[in-house]
Symmetry: D2
Subunit: 342 residues, 4 copies
């Protein structure tokens, strides 16, 4: 009972990652791929690494016949996504990978994204796509909003700890390190190899990164009070991977216990033995999350570090995990491939 | 009808790559993993990227019960391999990834490897594991010798051209560029990140690389006369990937024709449109080979460029492809995963 | 009035960096280079990038005639350094780049380095080599202990702020990112290109890194009370560079003011405009430090980020800066080369 | 007697490299920097790595007062350069780093660059800037055309060999590997870190690269007959560096002899001991060239490999070397800085 899939915006990295993952998915088949500027081109020209696959050429969205489509992944740029999705059939299942439907509150959206939302009713309808925490809602959803990749990493660390009440909510620091593919295939000077390789720097420093909107929304909801974390990401000379280092006030052993209890039944999330920390090398190309907890030399202070692949578990892999639930497939289907090392 | 697999020498990169590939293979199950120096350790400690798998701990070879093993992959160092294999049960199917059984001739082995072979009878028995060219022999073989990764890349370009008689056999130049994982996990100064990143150099220059033994053996056999190519590899600051640039005397269009005809039925080998060249980016982590042909501005001279992943198609992927044949499984089983890009 | 220099331990990265910098120093000339295991070899073989220089061959320490030497740089491994230095002439000026003389307290040394000090009298004599803060002592010193590279970076951020009393001393978090050359030319698995490139991880997490000994010693002295910071470094896929992100409780604008006032007369240390953060790309290969201050969205919380080159300003450049002072030369001599970008 | 310098087009990599080198040049001072799109900005904003220098802001070319300028470096894009230079004062000394004045023949220019030359009289006037081979002409020149970086590398290998008549002129193959900064700071998809790191590919394959125009012009002139080499470059995941591997018909020992004899008096060009090959790591950031010669296992065939830094010796360093000659300064002034390793 293979499901028929469309990918809107297949000429970017998250679109290509969807194709990569679906190519070995036992129950999905790609029926349409869109890319406005590259419409008419075969995928093998846009992404030669997909040459071995028998794929439809890129087309325009308006040329897709959605009647036979079971689910559409929407990998379009922010803002474009909402404009496109509001014109799609209202009974089409959709997983959106943009930022457009992550925030539930109309004012929050405008605050973080600088413009009013074009489809507030859909915004209300959308389910937040952090699979392990919204599983039942996602199963029943028509429209799921993929989370930010940084936002996902931080939440895998912090949600269980906030919920269990084992950390000081006014002292949450998230120092994040991320690879460059998270910025997409855009032509920006700071994404050039010459500018990026062999060095590092912070960006969106001091609490200006948009993923804070997601953190605020989710953590405040869990805590039942406003929670504002400190969060600054750093750009690293690597293509894939996010390493999030959380500096927390709490008892490290207790934190480890809480995380282990929360994730012991999750196939994608692995809590490492106490005192050890993860590496992005060990999750590259996979849908797995590795989390480690270490006590600081100062009693009552702890470090929790999480690693995931921003394009996979942080974006396209998560999207497929959600789609699996929405389509009644096995949640892990197509997602258990091992990381690529070295 | 799942086949039971042992991997001898699982603590190196080719061993780990075998585990990675087998982890999603529909018909293979790993029953034993060995690593002499790390015996007793769980694989998750030696290779944390394999943490999600339920694997046997590393053991010593002498502790493996081979009675229930359908096939053993031998990913041991050169010279060690022959010593180990000659003590294994004579009815055990084996795919060896070392250099020990690649050369058929006892004298050739001694010439290129500097010592007499310890198991000349097995050397005679072994089938050369370049799947697409020894398919029937491999199907019937008990012991298959995996090819050198550089040797495989060069042969995918040159075998059909030599066989078709379309190039000058005395003018074959192979300028090869390879990633560092081909050198394994050995602790050598020149493999350190500080020594390697952001620069390049030739090595084994001028016809001293051991894979020339394989080229000489195979090309002379096909041509029915001695063929000695010029071959120098270069070490590049990347982990995976081989790009081989062959500078040939011959008509480029004719060369393209010959390669296309030879590979059109092969699922793993893709000949690009005439005039285009491949990138190692597009085969990373996969079992695919991309080959491109370009005519030089000098009439009668051509460039043929091939790209593959040294650890996968150049080594462990090829080994599994051969094992599939030896075990009566579908040749592509477990090997059609898409490359990882970016 | 050129000064005559010996470099003990010239076969490692800090030794080579000393040679690189001295090669264009107007007032220094290298008279002896030692390297026990590589004694007898020309430097051009050990470090081909120094081929253009007319340098003495590597020798053993015992073969150096120190009578004509004005100053010796000691770039030997930790523990070896103290054993060697205590045998050197007591009137020889020495800049030691190891960790052996950084801690003043015998018990502190034993705590962080796990063994008693072999030359406690020299330990007492040594001046801590953070040039901008010990300038007068260094000028008068015979033996100067180069600081840890991580320790230097953190101190450039924190010393002025602690001294000015503008941050909460019980809430100092230093999340540091560093390149691999800081680990030296040692043959360790985790330093291989295959293990390191394209990924990141924490190490010595939770307050176990030895440079904490320096932080504790210095910060407690400045504050006049015990100060224990939280500090965890992360290893990045780059050869040179340290980026230190300090998460602090304090008013960002005030912090910026204090740092600007402290460093406005320093030629090597540049405080960026408020609200901007530095990149290691911009200091690579140079003796400069860039420091940026950003306010967090939470009032009263600030981020201070510093970037320097671990081999240069963090080690060998600092050593030459100190030697310049000890020899009565201009402090900046040989150290004003621009960074290498890209 | 400091010379006053203008740099036109200072917002690109070669412009920045000129500033870097001149910052420690004993006899040059920068009086003007132009950048049309970034006019009015301080260099520290365009290139923060130059923050420590006291530099003029970027201006428009039309706003530069050339009356006090001793020499202008022109680091503008191809085609723009000729349009700008023909409007500059006719007595201003100029070193042009673009491709505009490299070819002497009007028809050749049009063939390789696809459009007629806008300043054919200046094209005739310009001296080809390969310093070691046009030293006297450059000393007397008003307008010098910097060579292509690939073209320089190939010529350092081939000029002496062609002149000495020791290689087969109809069998010259140049397989070149180059870093990405050679492509400049342009916003092109294939220059993104995500597209480039961890892989390699050929480009301009089969004799279509424009630097062939230079090779043809120079080699034919030396040989006194048409010489057409085969040349294909490959793009490597590194920022700086060119490694050129020449596959030649000739006696390797004789080739080595010829090269040694030709370069023994050159301070910038180092011929390695016979049988060894260079690495781009060893020349990064410097004005040095390393050349190695190896005999192939096939008698009468040889490999000559050369390494240089494309931005320095291949472009801006060479430009300064030429300017030194034109201004009556010491040729090596400002150019003897050691490479940066690691």
């Amino acid at each position: 009972m293979t499901k028929t899939i469309a990918i809107l915006g297949a000429s970017g990295y998250t679109g290509a990652e969807l194709v990569r993952l679906i190519s070995t998915h036992p129950d999905m088949k790609i029926a349409a791929l869109t890319g406005e500027r590259k419409a008419g081109q075969p995928m093998a020209r846009v992404f030669p690494f997909l040459r071995h696959l028998d794929l439809p050429d890129l087309s325009r969205i308006e040329d897709v016949d959605f009647s036979g489509i079971d689910l559409a992944f929407c990998a379009l740029p922010h803002a474009t996504s909402q404009a496109v999705i509001k014109e799609l059939p209202r009974d089409l299942k959709i997983v959106d990978l943009s930022a457009d439907f992550r925030l539930r509150d109309v004012a929050d959206y405008e605050k973080w994204y600088g413009q009013p939302h074009a489809a507030p009713d859909l915004q209300r309808e959308a389910v937040y796509g952090l699979t392990e925490f919204y599983r039942e809602e996602i199963r029943a959803a028509r429209l799921v909003a993929g989370t930010g990749c940084n936002a996902a990493t931080g939440q895998y660390i912090l949600r269980p700890l906030i919920e269990a009440g084992v950390i000081d909510l006014d002292r949450i620091i998230l120092d994040l390190k991320c690879g460059v593919s998270g910025a997409g295939r855009a032509l920006k000077e700071n994404l050039l190899h010459s500018e990026l390789s062999e060095g590092t720097q912070a960006y969106a420093a001091g609490g200006t990164h948009r993923h804070l909107g997601e953190f605020d929304q989710e953590f405040s909801r869990i805590a039942g009070r406003p929670v504002h974390i400190q969060f600054t990401p750093h750009l690293l000379p690597m293509n894939r991977g996010i390493l999030a280092t959380a500096w927390l006030d709490g008892d490290a052993a207790r934190l480890h216990e809480v995380l282990q209890a929360r994730y012991c039944a999750e196939s994608m999330i692995h809590v490492l033995p106490f005192g050890t920390t993860p590496s992005t090398h060990d999750v590259r190309g996979s849908n797995f999350v590795h989390i480690g907890v270490v006590g600081d030399r100062i009693p009552g202070r702890a470090l929790v570090v999480a690693a995931l692949d921003n394009l996979c578990k942080g974006s396209s892999g998560q999207a497929i995990q959600n789609a699996n639930l929405m389509l009644g497939l096995q949640e892990e289907a197509g997602l258990m491939g091992a990381p690529l090392f070295p």
